[in-house]
């Protein structure tokens, strides 16, 4: 798969100038929102941008949507330069954000879509057809003639997605798309993203979220952003392998004295005694597991099972963030 979004050392610092700082020439407040962000996103993938609130996810999305100009670095979307060819980029991207204020509340869903479709240079029958197709795609055709103000949060978010899809863009930029949704609406939205947008429509999606479960469900690759910098990126397997080097393993062996384990150099984190067996947890490098099992066997200890304790993405996230501090 070819890279569709390429970012190289993108940086952004916001400078807050007040009248006071101008008059008294005091140093204005600076916030370094992004630091040398380098990323590539492949065609047809859902790429997760994970990070806590204030990490810089929205700033990055806005840079990609040409709403913010970066201070440094270079970026290309579909070969178009992020700064010099912003007009071209706007034709191939769709932005789904969490702001429900970005719609006209007294207009119906269809009227809102008609308005934005006109701004995407769709006219006449072509516009009507596209709006209808999109309404069906996001399952809002029954609510099409209802005023936006009467929509539920889930419907508002689906209309936001519909708006982003009006120009049939190659790339969707989703900024916390499920933030205001209840679990059912959220799950429907995720299903729509994966089954329809990714699998059926082949869209490339940049999915910003701080919800790790969500990222696990929809993303094939992930970048973790913290304090404006990408601190890790890769596929889910790789992200988990980052802490697999120090992973937890659960061993079940035939009963033996704890002293025996110590004698052969095993210091369990926790030990549970069961009838005839001994369970213990061990933090060990994955490469060392086979020799450890061999050692136990050679010392006459029957190893009933050895399982990797399932690592949740939360743990990876927490660990990587803590490591970054």
């Amino acid at each position: 798969m070819s890279d569709i979004i390429e970012l190289h050392k993108i940086s952004k610092t916001f400078i807050e100038r007040s009248w006071r700082s101008v008059l008294f020439r005091s140093i204005p407040k600076k916030t370094e929102a992004l630091k040398d962000i380098t990323l590539t996103i492949k065609k047809g993938e859902i790429f997760g941008l994970l990070g806590p609130n204030g990490a810089g996810k929205t700033t990055l999305i806005k840079i990609l949507a040409t709403l913010i100009i970066p201070d440094g670095g270079a970026g290309k979307i579909f070969g178009y330069d992020l700064i010099r060819q912003s007009q071209h980029i706007r034709r191939i991207i769709g932005l789904v954000n969490m702001s429900e204020r970005s719609f006209y509340w007294r207009l119906t869903g269809r009227q809102n879509l008609n308005f934005f479709a006109a701004l995407h240079n769709l006219t006449g029958k072509q516009k009507e057809k596209r709006v209808q197709t999109i309404l069906e795609l996001v399952d809002l055709e029954e609510k099409a003639e209802t005023q936006f103000m009467k929509y539920s949060s889930g419907q508002k978010q689906r209309l936001s997605l519909a708006r982003a899809l009006l120009s049939n863009p190659e790339i969707l930029l989703m900024d916390e798309p499920t933030q205001n949704l209840d679990p059912i609406a959220s799950s429907t939205f995720l299903k729509l993203a994966v089954d329809v947008l990714k699998k059926k429509e082949g869209k490339t999606i940049l999915w910003c979220t701080h919800n790790l479960r969500e990222a696990e469900d929809v993303c094939s690759r992930i970048a973790i952003i913290h304090r404006g910098a990408v601190i890790e990126s890769g596929d889910l397997e790789y992200m988990c392998s980052l802490i697999n080097t120090e992973s937890f393993y659960e061993f079940t062996i035939d009963h033996c004295p704890e002293r025996t384990l110590q004698e052969i150099g095993i210091t369990p984190l926790r030990i549970f005694r069961n009838n005839g067996s001994l369970d213990f947890e061990l933090q060990v490098r994955s490469n060392d597991v086979p020799s450890l099992v061999r050692q136990l066997v050679e010392n006459g200890i029957n190893v009933r099972s050895c399982k990797v304790k399932v690592i949740e993405l939360d743990e990876v996230f927490e660990k990587i963030i803590n490591r970054a501090h």
């Binding site: 929102a33 806005k62 949507a65 709403l67 932005l95 204020r101 970005s102 701004l119 120009s167």
Partner: protein, 252 residues
């Protein structure tokens, strides 16, 4: 219902202000002012044109800035800017209705004046009149775009609107001829597009003058157009670019 009521109230409002100026004009009827001689001597005709054209000034100055401000406040600005349509196109399209409404208001002013208050106007040079109206609107639009750019950057009411509105009101010859002003102040009035727009329109409508008699005003209005319009567009683009750099598009 609220739209219909609003329209009826506007009709009543226009009638009342026309009535007001009609009675005011009675003050000058017996002792005709020398200042009004170049305009046919009728104060009512003079002032009603001034008031009507000022509507265009108000709309041109305010509508672009208020469209931007509304979009900032409502939160729709980013959604508009992420589309491939250019900002000036969005602003012109969204302000079009205000311009149409203003044109209707001006026609109503004139219809009231002619039918109810006996206003006498010359409609011999309609194409020339329309051309001057277009030049007037485009000149005002340039200032309106500068004002909108100001709003994008500073998020507050533009002082430019206040300055242009006030100076136009005092120096532009809306309620009284420019010749009333002290000699030292009169040159300043020529720096305002409304002075030339009103002079040309009044000469055509009140004295039936033709292009050859108002061409100087037309040239000056063309000059205002070709300077103010590009300056307005450049300033608007600068404002947006600055807001994109500052990340302040959605601040309000």
């Amino acid at each position: 219902m609220s739209y219909k009521l609003n329209f009826i109230l506007q009709l009543v409002g226009i009638f009342i202000s026309t009535l007001l100026f009609f009675f005011l004009s009675k003050l000058f009827e017996r002792g005709m002012s020398d200042y009004l001689q170049p305009y046919g001597g009728d104060y009512f005709a003079f002032v009603i044109i001034g008031i009507a054209i000022t509507d265009y000034l108000t709309v041109s100055l305010g509508s672009f800035a208020s469209e931007i401000r509304n979009a900032q406040m409502m939160g729709t600005l980013e959604a508009l800017l992420v589309t491939p349509t250019s900002v000036p196109t969005i602003l012109f399209s969204s302000s079009l209705f205000s311009f149409i409404l203003t044109s209707v208001r001006i026609i109503i002013y004139l219809v009231y004046g002619i039918t109810i208050f006996g206003l006498k106007l010359h409609f011999t040079s309609i194409p020339l009149l329309l051309m001057i109206m277009c030049l007037t609107i485009l000149s005002f639009t340039g200032i309106g775009l500068i004002s909108a750019g100001f709003i994008v950057i500073f998020k507050q009411g533009s002082p430019l609107n206040w300055i242009v509105n006030t100076t136009s009101g005092v120096l532009g010859g809306i309620l009284y001829p420019v010749s009333v002003l002290p000699a030292w102040l009169q040159p300043f009035s020529h720096l305002l597009p409304i002075t030339h727009a009103l002079e040309a329109i009044r000469q055509i409508l009140l004295n039936g003058k033709t292009f050859s008699e108002v061409y100087q005003e037309v040239i000056i209005l063309i000059f205002f157009c070709i300077t103010l319009l590009p300056v307005g567009l450049i300033f608007m683009r600068y404002g947006l670019s600055k807001a994109r750099k500052d990340g302040s598009l959605v601040h309000y």
